[in-house]
Amino acid sequence: MNEKEMLYQKRLERYTTAMDCGKPDMVPVAFGIGEWIVKYTGTTLQEIYYDLDKSNRIVSEMLPGLDFDIFKGGPSLWWPPMFDALGSKLYKFPGMGVDENSTFQFNEQEYMKADDYDEFIASPTEWLVNHYLPNISTELENPGSYRSTIALIKGAAAFAMQGGIMGAAWAKWTVEHGIVGQGTGFTKAPFDTLGDALRGMKGVLLDLRRRPDKVLAACDAITPHNVNCSLAGAGADTRFPCFAPLHRGAYPFLNPKQWDTFYWPSLKATIEGMWAKGKRMLFYAEGDWTPYLEKIAELPDKSIIFQIDTTDPKKAKEILGGRFCLQGGVPTTLLTYGTPEKVKEHVKRTFDELACDGGFILDTGGVVMGDAKKENALAMIEAAREYGVY
């Protein structure tokens, strides 16, 4: 076993021990190289997003100088050429809809109309193909046309190309830098699948009043697909958790009764369905989930890693600690507005509060924004090594 393989094994052991609520040799640290890197590289955000080779090269150049355990990925969340091929309306990307150094914007619309519920519920995959794809893609507006056919060929090819490029990049980072990836697969809460991309926030909130039974039936129809999505893109891997960004479940988008009725049952069923197949969820609880911690504690032990963003960390530890691994602790705003000294103090305090019994992974609470300072990001991982030894 060479030096990098040993490093990989050491980091993997740290990660898996913490995921199982144990106490490794030191607190594992999760780290991502986000959009903030752009202003230190002489490139534009557009280049980073469009040119995957360049983006991956920047990551490769940075990794040797960084000591962390779990890699969350590089700065380009999406690959815009795939969206451009279909004329996607979903996003505006840097240099294509917004300024070349502005982050992407989600263009939320009612891409699924209220009248579409029955057809969607009857056969979700077919409805997505027959109605949703043409609704979100200018190039697919005339199915069967020359442009539509070409766009589908290009879109599917881009999906495969991106998978190949990123697969090779992750393999290289693993072999050359002993990197352990955070997770495999991507899924969501069924209510978020419905409320984010299909009905939109306004649509789904009106539906709670006007057609609550349809919302519940749609969430039930989506649930088995979201269980499948957690494993499908992951090649059935069960060693690592599936990333699940959770949106409308954060307090106070929904009131507690709505949360209990519409959000939680299908999310819980998704997690239980995944766990029955051996797959854990990275429960990426963006925002504040404090009022729902008792409900979340009903889940099977170890079936999630609970991400602490603005959820009360002490309550999360009190209610979930010991049964579920906790991850987070560092507010993303601290990396933008803080100083390295303040970041280090915060990391030390976080370890005292959350890490003492194990079952904890240090990370930023949410996605680190483009205005974060590199010195603060580096201070976080330096402090983790300084104070994180058990």
């Binding site: 996607s88 979903l90 996003y91 989600f106 009857a122 056969s123 995959t125 077919e126 997505l128 193909v129 949703y132 794809l133 979100i136 879109g155 599917a156 999906f159 495969a160 991507f186 899924t187 969501k188 699948t193 984010d196 991309a197 299909l198 088995p224 697909h225 979201n226 269980v227 499948n228 999505c229 499908a232 893109g233």
Partner: protein, 56 residues
Amino acid sequence: MSEKEKLLNPDPGVCLPWKVKVEEIGEFPGNEEIAKKEWEKLDDFAYNFIWFWAQR
């Protein structure tokens, strides 16, 4: 709605079930399992591509 256009309501991970395709083919003189295995891999790829757009 013609016979071919009836809703399939495919399972998760499936777009066009092999059993539908094989019924259309009729007699299968070779090893069906070889064809089925590769069909299902591509079908799963298509499924992931479709659901990718709904999981934004």
